[in-house]
């Protein structure tokens, strides 16, 4: 069996391009992972309040759903969050952070997003300064507006059950 056939220039070029693309992707990944991102704050000056929560008993936490008004997925995550709060009876304020939206959301959009509080990320803070990129995720803040954790979008029953466990723990904590 002969093994004398050499690799042609075109094949070398193709392999070289594949290797270059892989190295470029790796370099991009490394740059992105080693970048230091700011810790999110709910009272960040760049977040413009569109609807403030009604004054009342201060919630233990504020859970802000990152919503792009054009994204059905985000609305579903928000709806599941509202349903979860009702079910768990947890003292959490459910808010909306409108992201990746250049123009100020219309009053109709604000009305349609049925959350306790709404803020508009007018300068792309969520993506550019905080490094978050997945629509529908829940950013959790304490009473002072400091960042606590991020929950994955409530995309399905498993994610919802996961959030429910945290909510139940908070409910227990709030009740004690």
């Amino acid at each position: 069996m002969s093994s004398v056939r050499r690799v042609s220039f075109a094949e070398w070029l193709a392999w070289g391009l594949v290797a270059a693309a892989l190295v470029a992707l790796g370099a991009l990944w490394h740059f992105d992972r080693t970048r230091v991102w700011e810790s999110p704050r709910w009272d960040d000056a760049a977040l413009i309040p569109l609807r403030l929560a009604e004054p009342g008993r201060a919630p233990i936490e504020t859970w802000a759903v990152a919503v792009n008004p054009l994204c059905e997925h985000c609305r579903a995550s928000l709806a599941r969050g509202l349903a979860l709060r009702r079910a768990a009876r947890v003292p959490v304020r459910l808010a909306v952070l409108v992201v990746d939206t250049r123009r100020r959301p219309s009053p109709a959009t604000v009305e349609a997003l049925g959350a306790d509080e709404l803020r508009w990320d007018s300068t792309g803070t969520w993506r550019r300064r905080w490094g978050h990129r997945v629509y529908g995720e829940l950013l959790c803040f304490d009473r002072a507006g400091s960042y606590l954790r991020t929950l994955a979008p409530l995309a399905d029953s498993i994610a919802a059950r996961r959030a429910l466990r945290i909510a139940a723990a908070l409910s227990h904590e709030g009740g004690s």
Partner: protein
């Protein structure tokens, strides 16, 4: 014509002799269509479970069709990759046969995907037992989700994943008429590169956001 002046057709056609057909010629298109349909069905279920239930049904079906077509295209690219590797070593394999086998072997991935869904719906000992087959990081639980790109890419390393790699190497070994070393090393390299691309791309897509 090769670089050394040997007509390509004169290269040893080990593939014609050694690589058998997965199916008789008339059945091949039907089998490929059947496996693609199974992938489409699996993707429809997966999208519906993953929150796309709020999307129009037509959208889910189209997305699943694109996903199934993507799987076929992935098998074709993988076959071309192996083909070019062996051709550079003077061994000709039949693209059609290799592609047919890769589509057939992808049924193992299909089974892994199905078992992952079963494990997610049955937490406890059932999930624990199935994780050995589908990968320790593939099953999302109530404690945590997929989370990072690393887990998304390498979480599915289980017995079924190993079976898929060994089967892919075995078919190349048969076609090339060589030992196990080169086919296994090649298959492992291709898999590893694919996983690396998946890991890095997923992390770039998610930033610091956790995956569900």
């Amino acid at each position: 014509m090769s670089d050394v002046g040997v007509p390509i057709a004169a290269l040893p056609a080990a593939g014609e002799r050694g690589l058998p057909r997965a199916f008789r010629r008339p059945w091949s298109p039907l089998w490929i269509a059947f496996v693609s349909w199974q992938w489409w069905d699996e993707l429809v279920r997966r999208f519906a479970n993953a929150g796309a239930a709020d999307l129009p049904e037509k959208g889910i079906r189209i997305a699943a069709a694109l996903g199934a077509a993507g799987h076929l295209a992935g098998n074709a690219v993988e076959a071309l990759f192996y083909l070019s590797f062996w051709q550079a070593r003077g061994i000709r394999l039949s693209f059609a046969r290799l592609f047919e086998w890769l589509v057939t072997i992808s049924v193992v991935d299909l089974a892994a995907s199905w078992l992952t869904r079963v494990a997610e719906n049955h937490p406890g000992w059932v999930a624990g037992a199935l994780e050995v087959f589908v990968g320790l990081g593939a099953v999302r639980g109530e404690e945590q989700g997929i989370g990072s790109g690393f887990r998304a890419a390498f979480g599915s390393v289980g017995l079924l994943c190993l079976a898929r790699m060994v089967a892919t190497a075995a078919i190349q070994r048969r076609g090339a008429g060589r030992g196990w070393t080169a086919p296994l090393a090649l298959t492992l390299t291709v898999w590893l590169l694919g996983r690396l691309v998946s890991w890095w791309s997923t992390d770039l897509f998610r930033g610091v956001s956790p995956l569900p």
